[in-house]
Assembly symmetry: D3
Amino acid sequence: MIEPAKTIACFGEIVLRLAVPAGEQPLQSPRFDVHVGGAEANVAVALAALGYRVRMVSALPEGPIGDAAIAELRRHGVDTSAILRRPGRVGLYYHLPGGPARASEVLYDRADSAFATAEADEWNWDAILADASWLHLSGVTPALGPQSADAALAAARTARAAGLGLSFDGNWRGRLWERWDADPAATLRAIISEASLLFGNHRDAALLLGRDFSGEGGERRREAALALLSAFPNLDHIVSTARHIVGSDRHELAARIDRRDASCQTEARVVAPIVDRIGTGDAFAAGVLDGLFKGASIEDSAARGLALASLKHGLRGDFAPFSAAALASAAHGANDVAR
Amino acid sequence: MIEPAKTIACFGEIVLRLAVPAGEQPLQSPRFDVHVGGAEANVAVALAALGYRVRMVSALPEGPIGDAAIAELRRHGVDTSAILRRPGRVGLYYHLPGGPARASEVLYDRADSAFATAEADEWNWDAILADASWLHLSGVTPALGPQSADAALAAARTARAAGLGLSFDGNWRGRLWERWDADPAATLRAIISEASLLFGNHRDAALLLGRDFSGEGGERRREAALALLSAFPNLDHIVSTARHIVGSDRHELAARIDRRDASCQTEARVVAPIVDRIGTGDAFAAGVLDGLFKGASIEDSAARGLALASLKHGLRGDFAPFSAAALASAAHGANDVAR
Amino acid sequence: MIEPAKTIACFGEIVLRLAVPAGEQPLQSPRFDVHVGGAEANVAVALAALGYRVRMVSALPEGPIGDAAIAELRRHGVDTSAILRRPGRVGLYYHLPGGPARASEVLYDRADSAFATAEADEWNWDAILADASWLHLSGVTPALGPQSADAALAAARTARAAGLGLSFDGNWRGRLWERWDADPAATLRAIISEASLLFGNHRDAALLLGRDFSGEGGERRREAALALLSAFPNLDHIVSTARHIVGSDRHELAARIDRRDASCQTEARVVAPIVDRIGTGDAFAAGVLDGLFKGASIEDSAARGLALASLKHGLRGDFAPFSAAALASAAHGANDVAR
Amino acid sequence: MIEPAKTIACFGEIVLRLAVPAGEQPLQSPRFDVHVGGAEANVAVALAALGYRVRMVSALPEGPIGDAAIAELRRHGVDTSAILRRPGRVGLYYHLPGGPARASEVLYDRADSAFATAEADEWNWDAILADASWLHLSGVTPALGPQSADAALAAARTARAAGLGLSFDGNWRGRLWERWDADPAATLRAIISEASLLFGNHRDAALLLGRDFSGEGGERRREAALALLSAFPNLDHIVSTARHIVGSDRHELAARIDRRDASCQTEARVVAPIVDRIGTGDAFAAGVLDGLFKGASIEDSAARGLALASLKHGLRGDFAPFSAAALASAAHGANDVAR
Amino acid sequence: MIEPAKTIACFGEIVLRLAVPAGEQPLQSPRFDVHVGGAEANVAVALAALGYRVRMVSALPEGPIGDAAIAELRRHGVDTSAILRRPGRVGLYYHLPGGPARASEVLYDRADSAFATAEADEWNWDAILADASWLHLSGVTPALGPQSADAALAAARTARAAGLGLSFDGNWRGRLWERWDADPAATLRAIISEASLLFGNHRDAALLLGRDFSGEGGERRREAALALLSAFPNLDHIVSTARHIVGSDRHELAARIDRRDASCQTEARVVAPIVDRIGTGDAFAAGVLDGLFKGASIEDSAARGLALASLKHGLRGDFAPFSAAALASAAHGANDVAR
Amino acid sequence: MIEPAKTIACFGEIVLRLAVPAGEQPLQSPRFDVHVGGAEANVAVALAALGYRVRMVSALPEGPIGDAAIAELRRHGVDTSAILRRPGRVGLYYHLPGGPARASEVLYDRADSAFATAEADEWNWDAILADASWLHLSGVTPALGPQSADAALAAARTARAAGLGLSFDGNWRGRLWERWDADPAATLRAIISEASLLFGNHRDAALLLGRDFSGEGGERRREAALALLSAFPNLDHIVSTARHIVGSDRHELAARIDRRDASCQTEARVVAPIVDRIGTGDAFAAGVLDGLFKGASIEDSAARGLALASLKHGLRGDFAPFSAAALASAAHGANDVAR
């Protein structure tokens, strides 16, 4: 589905996670665990680890903290040459771990970052996408402010014009959209019009299309997917997950892919014990893309997404840098020690 | 039920926990994790975190270790002005973590502490309770030795004489009572005679009343509660929990409140994954008191107790410093990450 | 079954585990957790902790790393006087933790170790076993190379000639046998001919006897055990486990012991939460030997094996240094905190 | 010099330090050590630890990170009731440790904090200072932006009008003033006009008075101090330090106090080995204030400042919570272990 | 000087150190570093590491904490068969690290330990010393209380009667002697009367002999040594150190040995950077004993003491488990990396 | 001196350091700190961090440990495409920290590594060096065994034939050469014949030329340098350092560069406090090369070498990834905190 010699571009903000250690409240121990992440950077790292040529397009400030964030991407084999260095701060979020009777929590502190204050034309989109065959975006970027929304749209339009495939992960973040005078639905519709693949469920569809989908389970999801495929003629795949929270360290995850002519829905997969839930949706996206890029069936692509998401739940940090071999063996579930 | 501008006093020993890291034997790694605790101090911290004015009444030696223990209480907003500084050592306990086929273990090393060697009249009870509306005691204190037993009784009598409410948590600690020439039942009966609320179950009742309660489940608990309410006319609430150990990281907890005219018993609540079981009974007590202080129903008060106890199981350390908002949302069980 | 004043000898390699921290990939944090282990050393430590006189027979290089490994055995009360110091390196293995959808993995780096390059006659077997009543070997040792295979055979023959009991744990390690020009079945048969007790299941039997056992469950195991007991007349006990992997932190374990005249098979025991699966088979072996040494029934011996294996799953490191009291109380499953 | 029953108020921002571990570059280990600080909060904590009644006046956002910062102040006995909770973020700074050939570095990320965006009239200065006898400010606050500059001036004027003493620590932070359209000299002059004590040297004087002081060493400092005392008639003490950097873990520190009628200058005190240089100027300020508050001579007050600063260099974190006893014994320099 | 096949016995309490991490105040991080120590145990470990047969004679309570302390001695090759298990607690001390302007501090919490409450006749001295050629005691033991003082005296008398050499390290601990109704000088004199070697300086001499030694430096030390040798005719060596505190991480150490007929005094040796000063005097004692045991000159013996003490300053923990090779090369001072 | 658009190639083994934590003996804490290094890889990382295009030529085994080592190089911007993946193990070394009276120690465990067992022709030298302008080698590589010696020679000859500059760092490692039947002098002479720049002093010269250089200090070094420049006509620079060990955390370092027509020798630079001495010689080499590559004088180039070496002493790990800006400011020695 994509040419292997070509590059996959991911555009979005790179952020630092400041994480309170598990089982503690902030400053109970005088330290934060720190991870580099960002919805699109997470996809970039996962795809690079699977063997793809991946370019991260972003912006970070000059200086040692920005350098360290870039080095983490480079460590995982991502091309960082299209990361602008410009004024502004590094976007952050605090992560408070969950536990019995307590969901984990993400507190954003990413306003006025080097990325969020960059204008759309600071990136030379034609040059950046010249050797690319795919662009991945997410709903986090347009939520960051008008400049970022413009930039995401510019990227999407350049990609479509150049004949690239474009995946868009809804990633609804209400707390971000509230911070500025935004029209989320209109903004997202403009970008998604350019996309070929959407990660989103009936709730995303309701937001985008301004109507509810009242059926049950798979039926409702199919109805929402068909409505999206109808509203956005460039789309050919709608991909979604359903997550059931059994406990803070045990979730059940199922995946669904809808095309105009076909659909599939997986069994729920038990994911336990959970070490880190952050970034698991991005790992899922990378796993599905891997399947589709390699021409796998939608059933197999959905299974890859679930497998990579499962692996990610067991790894500290935002990234899912698992090899193709690890992904392949993850299909079989837990085994005894290999030796 | 209590006047918000007034103070809740908690009287008891403040101890240090020396904890072997989870999954290890002592000195497998050359360190102990250290936490400040004590049954009554745990209640004090939990109530302070919920927004109450709370005063800890205790004794600690002069010097940097006593200072550090006091600072931990102050950190959580507890008034530490009624903590005597006097000769003696800081009471300690070693904590050995549990695991498959192995219960966690508490080894006390608290003899001759500054608290246990303090005479009842070293605290000026009239002054300490002058602005208070409630006093909380537990069965740990009279178990520490004759001085502490006298002090607990003096505190209880002063409280009753001054019209304060008095809660008493049975907290049976056989290993402590064995260490001196004690009559536990008589000692406890004298204190409980002054109490308005007792945390205790049919086993506590059997010890106090010298008879067994042979029924099944809730029936037996009701019978024991009525016997206690009959034997101690000042009591108006008997509160208890039932804990089922599924595994070392998974318990099920149910709560019961009995009044003369009413009773309620909750469903069992699954508590998993457990990070630290110590102090969960004290968190339960604080949650129930919070409900009753605010005039909530016994059903709601029992649920608050369970919710705060559940939260505590996920937090390292003896304390349960959760905000009223965290307690409110804990009623709903586990959720996905909030962002 | 054995004389308490006599020594149990264990012969095998002592290795260092370089363990990636749980929930991480290698070098995600710049550290390895390090544990001393080795199948036979693990049995030695477990038996010493249970109160037996135990001598480890092995080889390590001179220098501080070898010294540190020896000190760890000495710490647990094992007699280390029969550990040769000779040229060569310390055998290592990397341990990568498992998680959702990912088995933990052991990567050996033990070629050319001081042990693997030692000739059979570097140990004075007559002297080493002079005061011993039992010898424990495992299939890891002959897999290491021709010298080690010879040494294991020499040890086994000396033991039998001197009237010692000999236990042999199959411990099949395909990755090790592949590294040299070996005939595993013939090599193992020669050693097992001298043994009185074999830890092994129908798969070990198939390898040793060159035939399959096609029945179901217990029937197949009984058939395989009888075939082994028939092929190796010195054997009187065949001991095996069956492990069901529910998830990376939850296994179910059952044990079986076959004699010519009797057999027993336990219920599956749930083992959760798992901290460290490595060394649990060795802990099982030590628990069974403890039962048999003390003249317990095969049912009770199998239960002790399961109990010690369960305890080990909750302890970081390769060793299972649990006291006889801990083993006794482990029979009862998880309990609430003891205090 | 001050009434002990009265309160010392400190006004300024409370920030989090995100510290790269010593001997590492950012993200070399995936963690930051985290400390709560802020020039004025550091003085507040040091004075509270010395036994004074201290109130911190500041602003922090609602939520668990702000809560944790407040708890750290409360831990050290500081009254936190005058810390506003309001919109905005928590101010941060990154700290990169120094080493051979490399100075340690502070990178601010404190724009748009809850404090920096608070208007002067959000604090009720009359009420906050009603029971106070002293106010401490520093040059960091007016550097944060026009709102903070106004607030500092309002605080200073209210303090003078109410007859309080006012200390002002120059704390020149060029990187902060550059971020907005500021007139540093005029802004600072307005505040210092209200002050009775200034921590500042000839470079501060040059900035404030628009002229250079060209003499050598003490002479230049005396000349600058007299010029300041002449320009600001309310000032009666000018206090300064001179720091000589021998190496990244070894400094030499001398102190000077100038009054109109007298002056003193200490010998240089060797400070080694240095654990954490941040906050040592604030500890110095607290030590000098302690001396002056107790009516000590300027020589003794300067020595206390140096002693508290020396102690702080050996303590990780921004705070210097040393007891009066520790301060007293610090005058004698290093000793052998006390036991 | 001693027969290598014979055993060196060390008698004294084994304690746990609860150490605040360097650069922190208690509970700044929620942990203590834990080390096993005790003046005589430290000598035992150092001598065992140098290759001697060493038996520790002591008492510890039953249970996992006592077990862990014993295991640490066993790890270093010390014979622990003469450590009684009896009622009582494990003796503790808190260690607060020093820094600029702050000495490190030891706070004892060792009253009522299993050792301190043991009667002299609980140890079978004749049996314990039957295969020994030397006994080492220190002034810590008699300071612990009347039982311990009696036990030390019983041990000393048995040793002398059996013809063993006896070394006694003064180790003056005023804080311990103050805790009971003791006559330190008389108690110590009785024990030292049996000793052949005393570690002590002119201050110890002054205490023991009730007179001052007013000379300067070496002269005063010689005079005190001769007075001791005259007062205690069994003594043949007086060994002492002089420590100059340059800073908390840099000391200078010199050693002196006096016999009736000869004496030597070393140059001061610079010891830096200091990681842990605790136990360095015990390491010195072990180094000197090693020299004398091997028949080295007093000059060489003093140098070995200094070398082992220097090594110990660089090692965390109370023990100095350095090999004979490490001690030999320590004579040469610091070198570049060996590879 | 080199074309910036061209690549610098470094050829050598990539190894893992297993480091005992500072102030401890092996397994005192159950962990090793782990760093990726290797003399030539260290130069590669330092030059990449300074902004050069750098390619590491090496070999590592397939699998997660090799992957992690490669990722660490990639993190610092080194091109890892010429690192073979082939059978063999990852080379290791243990690092034991030094302290007072104890040099730090390196214990190699690198035999039979994937690198050491690779034949010279497994790398396609023409292709690898096609776009390169410089090759860096060191004496570690030929010391590893005949295959590595051949490979180093093949690389050197290809480089010279292609007109590249070639630097060779003597890095004498006696312990490695001893392990096989080698003629170190002849082997090294063959390689150095192709080199343009040699890092080596009079001791290297003595080894290579078979004669001693008996003068003093600079004179001896000049004489040795001239002899080398005469013996190896392709050489144009001889670069060396002189290190004086003041203590384990304080060294003094001076540099010297000799050309046929000129020479320079720097003052000794104090380097303290030392965090990690490993890799400092490689950092020095990179700093000198940076100067020469940019056409700086030999004085300035020597100073850059010293500055980068000084910086490295303060950084944990084998690498010196300092930016050009950090290197520039390191010339000025220690400063106060920058903010």
